[in-house]
Symmetry: C2
Subunit: 330 residues, 2 copies
């Protein structure tokens, strides 16, 4: 038997890789499993599809998010995948599992959060499913209008620049505060960042729409991890300059020079993208239209991995094999 | 506080009713929450969307379905909703939660079942999500091509005839066999019916495509319950003749004249539909194209409920307020 024994050994990426394929010859599947989103043809249009679930005690602890925040966040983590395609969210289906003792007031708040998130991004909740479950879960499917250009994780080329939006590491810092391993008073901003994600829809649409990119994905599992996917799927390597990775004021106050959460922390829902040198000048002219700052953090090189150039000049090879919910408890 | 205290009090229908709406003024939502499926516009096309989840210890017990059967069934219960719209399934997204100790071999079998079901109905699995969870769940989202005509639960009118496809009660009988309250040897057919649903895609497409219907939905929660939804949403009543409700040979052998499972048992995934009198002759000419038998079981009358006319001539009013996974353990 060459099969690994449990799911912890397979991991999500193994699952998706096996989560087979399109049927042979279905020309309507433009982008299949393995990207942030699938892209399919519907008549003359292309439609972007994505699904993601948040599960209690896997992705969050009961006290970390209010029901309203959980509803909103469950929706917006999917929007972040849509943002990474430069697409426009339109319709949502929500599949919710709750323990029979879950207070109806909390369910109402959860729904309010879902609907609030839908409104924020201009989408409609068109259907749903509620079931009993041992542990709370919220699975959201989004349907989005595809942009004219398709950007995936596969287009990065040696010489391209690597950029990220916003700042990194704040959400992971927020989790540390919630876990009690950081002083809460100073960490309120980071906790808010964890609880109230702001996917980069506008930046994603402008970046894809103007054609300045070669590859993009959202940073949900940590910069090194996610940039690693771009490297693997593009057949390139990357070198990130640690000092260039954008960190917030609260991050610097609480973490000092420790870059670990900025490089590895998940749930920031920023975008990481690559830009060919010939298009950097055009990118620079777009800055004011993105709705958030962007930072040049490194470059695409030969190889197959994302590596980090420390302040000391040492090049750290970093594991790219996967942040995985099965590998840890929240 | 007028809010009920727990989810058991709210129920799925309460959840969906509150699971708000389309944003004001989104003309692209053709059919919103509260039907088997949503229908939305994408360019010049209409697309049908649906989501449903199966959860261990809520919808099934571990020993009742092999992992492959579970995968297949999780997919096909959604296909049944698509069948009820007369639509054509095209794309699927799968969100799976499994305990970390779940054997990889079982996960592979689960996936095989999902992909097998997709192939059976001509759909492509284009994306998915795998997460850790306390209890196994499989949530499937389907995207389907809408038919030219839209049939919902809302068109039934007084005088219409009520029909069902196939036979009813077998899946519930199969559950009794699995629970040990029926002799297993004679119940094998019923168990297979529970484990291996066969949604009525062809019948649904022909019935909708030929324009003979006034309303339709699938029978997933039991005939009286589901016909009750047609009654409520159409503002009519229904009378079913108990003796006319089609039952299989194994059902008659094990249940005798007891019609309770045929009237109330869930998970048969047949179709119940209504036909105006003027179109009955056309319906009769379609029989050979449906791929399954259909039976005239009663009529639409005034009122708001589905009632059953017993062999004795007594009219039983039946609760239509909802089979609900929160109200019982499997």
């Amino acid at each position: 038997m060459s099969l690994p024994r449990t799911i912890a050994d397979v991991g999500e990426f193994g699952f998706l890789a096996r989560m087979l394929p399109r049927l042979p010859g279905d020309g309507r599947v433009v982008v299949g499993p393995g990207q942030d989103c699938a892209v399919v043809r519907v008549g003359a249009r292309s439609v972007v599809l994505t699904v993601d679930a948040l599960v209690e005690d896997v992705h969050f602890r009961a006290g970390w998010l209010s029901p309203r925040q959980l509803g909103r966040k469950s929706f917006l983590v999917n929007v972040s995948d849509i943002a990474a395609m430069g697409a426009r969210p339109r319709f949502a289906l929500v599949s919710v599992g709750v323990p029979p003792t879950y207070p109806a007031r909390d369910l109402a708040a959860l729904q309010t959060g879902i609907v609030a998130a839908a409104r924020e991004v201009g989408a409609s909740v068109v259907g749903g499913n509620l079931t009993r479950a041992e542990r709370l879960f919220v699975s959201v499917t989004l349907v989005a209008d595809a942009p004219t250009r398709l950007i995936t994780r596969q287009g990065a080329a040696v010489g391209d620049r690597v950029y990220v939006t916003g700042t990194l590491g704040d959400a992971a810092l927020g989790v540390r505060v919630l876990q009690g391993s950081m002083r809460a008073a100073r960490g309120a901003t980071a906790v808010r960042r964890y609880r109230e994600p702001q996917p980069r829809l506008q930046a994603g649409r402008v970046l894809v729409g103007t054609g300045v990119l070669s590859a993009m994905m959202d940073v949900s599992d940590g910069l090194v991890q996610d940039l690693g996917h771009i490297c693997e799927q593009s057949g390139v390597g990357a070198v990130i300059r640690s000092v260039a990775v954008p960190r917030s004021r609260v991050y610097r106050a609480l973490m000092g020079d420790d870059d670990s959460l900025a490089l590895r922390g998940g749930e920031d829902y920023e975008l990481v993208f690559t830009v060919p040198p010939a298009r950097v000048a055009r990118l620079e002219r777009l800055r004011t239209r993105l709705g958030c700052p962007i930072t040049h953090i490194g470059d695409i090189v030969t190889g197959r991995r994302a590596r980090v150039l420390g302040a000391s000049g040492a090049l750290r090879a970093m594991r790219t094999g996967g942040y995985d919910h099965f590998a840890r408890k929240p």
